[in-house]
Each structure stands twice: as C-alpha cells, then as structure tokens.
C-alpha cells in the first residue's frame, strides 16, 4: 500500500477491483439518456432563456438597488451623494467649457444645455463602463450560483437608470433656476429615455461578453468613451461649431446620427425652450428607435450566444 506514489491512473492495489469501476465507452451516456438526464451547463434556447430571466426579475432589481445603496454607504453624507455627484460634475464642466473655454458662444440657455448633455451622456457612458465589468467583475457570483448571466449586465444597466433618475431630480432643479418651466414637451423625455435605456443595455451586454473573454477591453473603453463624448456635442453645439462650409455636410450628418448625440439632442429638445426642432437631424425619432432596437435585441442575442462559456477561466 505504501507504494502508491506511482502514476495516478495506475489501478490501486487493493483487494477489491470494485473500487475503481471501469465504464465502456458510451455506457454512461446511454445510462443518462435512458433516464432522461439533461446535459448540465448547456445553453438554453432563446425562448427558455427569456423565461428564465423573467423568473429572476426580482433578483435583477434587488441586485441593482443593492449595488446603488452600497455605493455610498461608507460616506458620511450617505445617499446625498447620489444627487451631489452629478451636480458637482456639471459644475466642473461649466467651469471648464463655459467659463474658461467659452464654448457657450452662440448657445442660448447654455447651463441647461450643458447639464442635460452631461447627464444624458453620463448615463450611456457609465452603462457601458459598468457593462465591461458585469461578468469579469462578478466571476465569483458566476462560478457559485446558477442564474441567467444576462441578469448581471441588465441589473447594472438598471442601476445606471436609477442613478439617472437622481440626476434628473437635480436637472429639474437647475432647469427651474434658469427659467425653464415645465411644459407638455417635457413628456417627450419619457420615450427618449426609454429608447436610450434600451440602447445602453444592448451595448453593455456586448461589452460584457467582450470583456469576459478579453479583460483588456476594460482598459480601452475610457479612451473610446472620451473620444465619443467629444464627438457627441456634450458641451458644445455641433450645429454651430461645425458649419457646412468647414465640414462636408455628410460628416455633419454622420455626427448627428451618432446615437449618443441623438439621445442628448432629443432630451434637449424636450426640456429646453430655445432648442428647436430645426437643430435635430431629419427623422430623429426613427433613428433613435432604430439604434435602440438594433443594439437592444442584437446585444441580447450576442450575449446569449456565449451563455454557457461565462465563468470559464
């Protein structure tokens, strides 16, 4: 018995051969098939997957709210930071772009214009950043419990939406202070934000899958996001900055069709008096809906396609 330091596959030299059962090839698979066992860890069909997700809806919302409250629970001011952080953000941008660089030139109601842009952009940017960490930052959870993995990017997108609702509270205060009073067009904010949320969720699911396979993506996203932000007219009006004689009309149109710019401009159109429909690209609602549906559905299917591989080292 002491000589058992031999190579592991070698049969153990005990009296009873029963202690290392040998199975014929295919014998176990046949046994499993005979009793109707299913393959563990196989990817469910898309329909079954959606049903599973629906079954976990309470977990998704609880996880989102838990993440949101856990965020500032160590701070002395606690949940006040939910509204302070976006306000401070807007102040910094106002100081740099409004006062120092004077980009407000030619933009009426610059403060509401800027603050709307920053908040709406932050919603997309932070959803994408959260998406890159949805799987790679929760490997422990993915390896310990069984649930449809799309719960994670969706929960994080919901957390960003909740965060945005706090920001909107701050935004409405700012709008009132700068003389923008509620009017019927404010209701357009609801469909605009719904479409944007769908777009964000889709993109963050794509990022979640990419970053789960290649963690380096998380290092790259800040740079891509910053480039995207400056190209989306968050702190300046693309219309007044890029006039047709300086930039070909086609480039300007491409810039205006970029989803972030579309969602930002829709919110400005909804909330700010002096931002008129003339500043919106043609067929703006169709563009907004197309981006939302293509990215939302496409991102979901793309994420589901790798369902069984998440959590693998």
């Amino acid at each position: 018995m002491v000589s058992q330091t031999a190579a592991p596959p070698a049969p153990v030299d005990t009296a009873s051969p029963d202690l290392l059962p040998v199975y014929a090839p295919g014998e176990l698979a046949a046994l499993a098939a005979r009793h109707g066992l299913t393959v563990s860890g196989a990817r469910p069909t898309l329909g079954a997957y959606i049903r599973q997700l629906w079954g976990r809806r309470h977990f998704i919302t609880a996880f989102a709210t838990a993440k949101l409250t856990a965020q500032y629970s160590q701070a002395k001011l606690g949940q006040i930071w939910q509204i302070m952080t976006p306000l401070l953000n807007a102040t910094v941008y106002y100081f740099i772009f409004g006062v120092l660089m004077n980009t407000k030139h030619g933009v009426p109601d610059y403060v509401p214009f800027l603050v709307t842009g920053v908040f709406i952009w932050t919603f997309t940017a932070s959803s994408i950043t959260a998406g890159t960490r949805a799987i790679s930052g929760n490997t422990g959870l993915v390896r310990a419990l069984h649930f449809p993995r799309a719960s994670l990017p969706i929960a994080l997108a919901i957390q960003q939406l909740q965060q945005l609702l706090f920001s909107l509270g701050a935004l409405f205060l700012i709008l009132l202070v700068f003389g923008q009073y509620p009017r019927p067009s404010w209701l357009l904010a609801i469909p605009a934000l719904t479409l944007q949320a769908l777009f964000n969720t889709g993109i963050s699911m794509v990022m979640a899958r990419l970053a789960a396979k290649t963690p380096d993506i998380a290092q790259l996203t800040p740079f891509i996001l910053r480039t995207w932000m400056y190209a989306s007219g968050v702190m300046w009006s693309l219309d007044t900055l890029l006039t047709a004689d300086r930039v070909p009309r086609l480039v300007l149109l491409a810039l205006e069709c970029n989803p972030a710019a579309v969602y930002i401009d829709l919110m400005r159109y909804a909330l700010i008096d002096s931002f008129t429909g003339a500043q919106l690209p043609p067929h703006v609602w169709a563009i907004a809906t197309a981006w939302a549906l293509v990215c939302g559905i496409g991102g979901f299917v793309y994420f589901w396609k790798a369902e069984e591989r998440y959590g693998r080292g």
Binding site: M1, V2, Q4, P8, P9, V12, T14, S16, D18, L19, L20, P21, Y23, L28, A29, L31, A32, H35, G36, L37, T38, V39, S40, G41, A42, G55, R56, H58, F59, A62, F63, A66, K67, T69, A70, S73, Q74, N138, G140, L141, V142, R143, A144, L145, H146, F147, T214, P215, D216, E308, R309, G311, R312, G313
Partner: protein
C-alpha cells in the same frame, strides 16, 4: 455493481470530463503588446498563457439517495469537479448529465458587505432562485438559525461590521435555507463555533434527506465517513478510487500517512 445499475435512478452522470483553465498573467515574460493584440485579433491561444488541466477524464454515475464524499489532497480538482457538476464551469471535454439543476451550497459571492444582514438575507435568497414569498416565510428561520440576533440586534447592521464567525454563520444560514434536488457542499461544515458547527451538521443531514443526492467536499475524513456512504478519491485530477466511504477513506488515510489523518486541513 453492474447488475444493480438498472434498478437505481441516476441523478448525476459524469462522462469522461476534462476541465482546463487558461490562466492569463502567468506569462513567462517576453511577448510585446503588438503580438498580444495580434493574438486577440486572430483569436489564437496566447502563447504565454498557461493551461491548467484540473480534471483529467473523470467518469462516474451518482444515484438517488446517495451521499458522496469527494476526497483528495489540495489542488486535486475536487472543487473544480463540483463546479462542473453544478454546470458553472463548462467542461472542455466530456459531459455532465444531471437530473434537474444541481446547486452549490453557498451564496457568499452574492452578498454585499456594505448592506445590512437583513437585506443580504433577501438578496441571497433571490440569488439562489427563491421567490419573495418563500424568503418572507423563511426569513425568521434564517435569522434564528444563524444566531446573529442572540447578542443584540445585529441583523440591521451592515455585514462588514460582523465578526468573521458571525458573517460565516449568516452566510451558511442563508445558503442552507433552500432545499435542492442535487446538493453540492464544499467545506461547509467548518464554519462558526462548536455550537454552530453541531447545528449546521444537523441541518446538512436534513438537507440530505430532502435532496436526492448530496456531494460533499471535505478535508475532514471524519465528516466524510459520518455523513457519506460512498466516497470518490481524486488525485491530480484523475479518479483514484470510487466505492464505500469507509474503504476509500481508509485507503486515502494510508496514502496521506497516519500523521495527517483525522486532522482537518484547510
């Protein structure tokens, strides 16, 4: 054994399962950023990344009513195999067939230390797939079982303020609140003080009766022989022995040497 195969109902069938990890960041040096980018683009296996072959072709069938202990020295692939049975770590070769959805006993990863114990009970329950009603029904039972409130109202404090023992007790109580068809337990018996350990052992016995099949990974040979009727011995990712718990544990003790036997190692 072969003649009884057909009369028993299998719950877990592990068919020639291999599990390989790819470890990034364990490079031996060399390899520029551009070549790394090239590998990402071309989807080739990174040259520097190491492949860890944790489980090498394990086959066995588990039946309804069995309690199976998994033994073997550290790094022999026990926990990895358990995760593959749970469907959490896909095998690179071979298949795991199961009856229903096997679950690991453990919710640690779902809990957040910044939240109160109260909210963690709800979050953990939801993460395990319980409904809100089930959690509401069992909430008091979970809190009482953990004994968190025995020394004051601790359940309304954030979990980061708990002592490590208190945290472990609450985590076990949440995890053990749900019954499963196939239950996988990884070293769960070693949490808390002596009183709590006795209580958790009783709870595992209960879970065993409710569940169809139980797998237990432990370094304590005593808890294997006490709770399991069958044992599987893994060594370096291969199946070394599979049979009655008493015989397998005896052979394993012989292998590890008498000095280490009976002493639970972490």
């Amino acid at each position: 054994m072969a003649d009884t195969l057909d009369t028993r109902v299998p719950t877990v069938v592990v068919d020639d399962v291999h599990i390989t990890y790819t470890v990034n960041g364990a490079r031996t040096g060399k390899g520029s950023a551009t070549s790394a980018l090239n590998r990402i683009v071309s989807r080739r296996q990174p040259r520097g990344a190491r492949q860890v072959h944790a489980v090498k072709g394990v086959s066995f069938a588990a039946y309804k009513g069995e309690a199976i202990g998994l033994i073997g020295s550290n790094g022999s692939g026990k926990s990895t195999l358990l995760k593959a049975i749970a469907g959490l770590l896909p095998p690179s070769k071979g298949r795991v067939h199961t009856q229903g959805q096997p679950s690991l006993l453990g919710v640690n990863a779902a809990l957040m230390s910044d939240l109160t114990g109260e909210r963690n009970v709800v979050l953990g329950g939801l993460a395990m797939g319980m409904t809100r009603e089930q959690i509401r029904e069992r909430y008091q039972g979970i809190v009482d079982f953990s004994g968190i409130n025995e020394k004051g109202d601790f359940i309304t404090l954030p979990m980061r303020t708990y002592s490590s023992g208190m945290g472990a007790r609450l985590r076990f109580s949440i995890a053990a609140a749900k019954s499963h068809d196939v239950l996988l337990i990884d070293e769960a018996l070693s949490t808390g003080d002596a009183k709590f350990q006795r209580r958790s052992k009783d709870r595992i016995m209960e879970l065993r009766e409710e569940a169809g099949t139980v797998f237990l990974v432990s370094h304590s040979n005593r808890s294997i022989t006490e709770t399991c009727d069958r044992a599987i011995w893994l060594e370096a990712g291969t199946l070394r022995m599979d049979g009655p718990a008493k015989d397998v544990v005896a052979a394993y003790e012989e292998f590890t040497g008498p000095a280490k036997s009976g002493k639970p190692r972490k």
